[in-house]
Symmetry: C2
Subunit: 254 residues, 2 copies
């Protein structure tokens, strides 16, 4: 029987700079009455990875430049936030009141360059923003290796975030960092029951799993910052979330 089981990992402490995510996740798995098994995938929320890596910025430390001030007027956002968004981005795709769609320096097309003001666990009342990890693939890989060191088990790691989409309402989970799990699964050369070549040749497997895990993480709090996945149906391989980024020259929607 083919089954995919996702289990919410709860009870992690508030994550601060330098927090040891691997042992915290191993303990959270053990609290569910289980242990890591070969082929498991851990999907970890971007927020806790960013916090552990110290990607929190106090807005009082940000001095918006002329471009940020101008753009902030258009999009009606805090100019210091816009300055941070621009510093994390390569290109502004759309700017409207309330909406700022950017190409993040990692290639992701997303709202607000992935900056998050909600629930950044500020010390005192200081207003802060949380940036994406510097290199989420590297973060995923480091976490995978640390989990292997602790448990002697080969698991995959996906760091996920919720993105808005073109044409469709609502946000959905996507993979922004991947290690030990295929980001894309290539179906080229495979045929259907009638022997006809498949038209859909690449499956965004890591995004599909990131979306599945997002369902359990919810959005309203961080009580579920990670999800244990058992039964991921595709073979493990080293990979990168950059596989999921369509090259600019093939992108018809900018």
């Amino acid at each position: 029987m083919r089954q995919l089981t996702l289990t919410a990992l709860e009870g992690l402490p508030e994550i601060e700079l330098g927090a040891p995510l691997a042992p915290l996740l191993v303990q959270a798995v053990e609290r569910t009455g289980s242990r890591l098994e070969t082929g498991d995938v851990l999907v970890v929320a971007q927020k806790i990875v960013s916090k552990a890596e110290g990607r929190r910025v106090a807005l009082s430390q940000v001095k918006p430049g002329a471009r940020a001030l101008e753009l902030a007027r258009v999009v009606q956002k805090d100019a210091r936030l816009v300055e941070l968004m621009l510093s994390e981005s390569r290109e502004v795709l759309r700017a409207r009141p309330g909406v700022l769609i950017l190409e993040h320096r990692l290639g992701f097309v997303m709202a607000n360059a992935g900056l998050d003001r909600s629930n950044v666990g500020s010390t005192g009342d200081e207003a802060c923003a949380l940036l994406l990890p510097e290199d989420p693939d590297a973060s995923a890989r480091a976490l995978r290796l640390a989990l292997r060191g602790l448990s002697h088990i080969e698991v995959g790691v996906i760091i996920n975030d919720s993105f808005g989409r073109a044409w469709r309402n609502g946000v959905a989970g996507v993979a922004i960092g991947v290690s030990g799990v295929p980001a894309l699964v290539d179906m080229r050369g495979k045929a259907d029951r009638q022997g006809r070549p498949l038209e859909m040749t690449q499956v965004a497997a890591a995004d599909e799993l990131a979306a599945a895990a997002s369902l359990l993480m919810g959005q309203a709090d961080e009580s579920v910052p990670a999800v244990l996945v058992r039964g991921f149906p595709y073979a493990a391989r080293e990979s990168s979330a950059r596989e999921l980024v369509r090259p600019r020259e093939e992108d018809l929607f900018r």
Copy 2:
């Protein structure tokens, strides 16, 4: 322990026009050693719904018009297929060699208007195409009511398909028909741990679940045309996949 479990439903026969999907799915659930429970969601592949509804068209019956002939030259596809795609669509968004992005009459922005040539179970050698169901929300609702009639259990139904996305490589599962499950979950008015209003206010829950189920369905054959989901974390309500379609006037990427 919060858990989401997806179970592949296998062993269904080849689906033909008029096939009784509800009893076939109930039997497939029973073959897994389980029974439907209140709150379960069945995710059903578009292909079998379309086949049961007779949405297969023999290409020999299609006479391409002037517009289809012209567009077929641009996109390098069979003009009869392009004629069918146009007949299922409201608008052509992008046309390039090998690529035709349309707004489907149901509002979905998608490649090839959802037409599928692979694995349509043609009688003999006749070339066929499979269209999306006439009204996938109505199909989902009819299936939900039939399942209730058979099992006296309230389940949700999602009809899913795999769509390409702007900006990201690979296809991912999305919901094209929904009944008894929220398509969108509204987080507006909710706050994070610090009491700050959430920035991401709507979650595309049905799309996230459609993506999760796609992982088990694979792409290479139809051996898993449906997935049983237990543990969907949001409250049931009647809904529509049209909630997931961004209104044209709010769409910045056309």
